[in-house]
Amino acid sequence: MPCNRGCGLSQTFAPPAAAAQPALDSCYQVETPEGIDLQLRPAGIVPRALAYTIDLLIRVLTLLLLFTLLAFLGRFGTGLGLILTFLITWWYMVLFEVLNQGRTPGKYWMGLSVVHDDGTPVGWSASLLRNLLRFVDILPFGYTLGLLSCLNHPAFKRLGDIAAGTLVVYRETTLFSRPPLPEAIPQRPPLPLHLDEQRALIAFAERHEQLSTARRQELATIVSPLFDDADPAASEQALYGIAHGLLGPALDTPS
């Protein structure tokens, strides 16, 4: 590979810094004792409000049903009803969160769950705390304080979450399926690539079906000075070829 061209181009291209830039999205990174970084995705106001509404409806309906049934039991029923009201008002969230992996029914349907700040499942004390402090979040009316705190916090925490050290995150359950790359002859990159450049290149090839032809060629034009050919379609093919080269052949002995 001619070195002078590679070196010259790396100047024209102003190589990105090797250090990872802080992510632009709302991902929340947690370093685990195993030495890896976990990416948590905090949930915003809308899914959380919907989850809360679902939970509220469930509780109201349960209580209505209970009181209709317990009305037949007279005063004993009233006493039982009061205890159950207490349990459902103050403990519904706590019991579901602790015993059901951080998910109340509403959160389950919205694909959310509650975790500690370090990504571990929520425990008794944190769950009790965040749900008791809900009383302050709803002040002075309709969750005003909670909303303000949520909008003001990078991880969308309401006051109860800040005090309890908890997060509401999206649960990830999708299965692994890597989209097939477009056909191309594997080739080596014309110059050494940084890790993130490498990933960006593979991502471009993996995403080819989501992009229009015009957009793909527009993107490929950016790197066309790397290749002898100035034709965008040829550059695109060359990029796919490099991606194939990076991923490696399917059935080969380890190099």
Binding site: L82, L132, A163, L193, R199, L246
Partner: protein, 326 residues
């Protein structure tokens, strides 16, 4: 190693791990089939680190990251038994915590009992003052409730076991709700806890002063002395826990405010757990013992005094040993 080979070699591992995760996410119990989980999880973490270091594609890294995240959740899941924790807490943790937090407990007690005694004294010497904080209808309800002519006392004149049960439910709902509000509103820089402590102190003081003044002291005091030991202490502890939250916000010390709040709240919520237990006891005593008219009032005074002593001994002496209870 190229990415495709890496995937081919370990795909089966990842799939097996995902299946194991699914079964763990559904079950609560420990299953011997999950013995290998820890090593499988470590392997996933290693694969993730490798994939990142080698610049494999985002699809693979995201997938491994999701597996690692779910594995992390299962690996660090809480499994300690609640009864065991509860016993340790009651035999040692709770009284120790109260002694350790004596400053806020003392402050809350001064606020609550101070306003109670002051208001009680004022109403006793100037009876008309009771109407400044209570509606006349409330006052007459209360007089009716503690009328010495009634056979059984409490909220209802005529009671049977179902009524006791109903009142038990009522006390739980009402008192624990108040305690929770007293605690939670402490987050408003302590103002909420301050308000609830003073408000409850004034109300109870006014009732006590008024009833003593009009000569219903025997029915009133013999009724409240028993469960008061638990209920009043619990309210002050809930107030103390709330004041701690507020104080962490007002004077966070060397921490950021959010951090100071988090640290204070972790302690305060333990107090609240103790408060819940005390109020359950109080509701039981109030519904089944305090309202009984079979016991003479002198017996109730003795039992009440014994209960106060019990509570005092519990908080002053229990859990001073150095060994954890088994």
């Amino acid at each position: 190693m190229k990415q495709t080979q890496f995937e081919q070699r370990y795909q089966a591992h990842w799939h097996a791990f995902a299946l194991q995760l699914e079964s763990l996410e559904k079950s609560q119990a420990c299953d011997p089939a999950h013995r290998s989980f820890a090593s499988a999880y470590r392997q996933i973490c290693q694969h993730l680190a490798l994939a990142q270091a080698r610049g494999y594609s985002s699809h693979l890294i995201d997938h491994l990251q999701r597996l690692a995240l779910r594995g992390h959740r299962q690996f660090y899941r809480h499994r300690s038994s609640l009864p065991g924790q509860l016993a340790g807490f009651l035999l040692q943790g709770f009284p120790r915590l109260v002694r350790q937090q004596w400053r806020s407990v003392l402050l809350a007690s001064l606020l609550f009992y101070g306003s109670l005694l002051l208001m009680g004294g004022l109403v006793y010497s100037h009876p008309e003052l009771v109407y400044s904080i209570m509606e006349p209808s409330q006052v007459s309800d209360m007089e009716q409730m503690y009328d010495p002519a009634a056979r059984r006392i409490g909220k209802l004149a005529e009671r049977d076991s179902n009524d006791d049960w109903m009142m038990f439910g009522h006390y739980i709902m009402n008192n624990i709700g108040i305690a929770f509000q007293t605690f939670a509103s402490g987050l408003l820089f302590g103002l909420g806890s301050l308000f609830f402590l003073l408000f409850n102190g004034l109300m109870i003081g006014a009732v006590a002063g008024h009833l003593t003044r009009i000569g219903y002291h025997d029915t009133f005091w013999s009724f409240v002395i028993g469960h008061g030991a638990f209920e009043l202490t619990a309210i002050t502890l809930a107030g103390a826990a709330g004041l701690q939250l507020g104080w962490a916000l007002i004077a966070p010390g060397r921490h950021a405010r959010s951090e100071a709040l988090r640290l204070a709240a972790a302690q305060a919520v333990k107090l609240v757990a103790g408060v819940i237990i005390m109020l359950l006891i109080a509701a039981f005593v109030e519904a089944y013992w305090s309202s009984m008219t079979l016991a003479s009032s002198s017996l109730k005074y003795w039992v009440g005094a014994a209960l106060w002593l019990l509570v005092a001994i519990y908080f002053l002496a229990v859990g001073r040993g150095t060994h954890a209870p088994d």
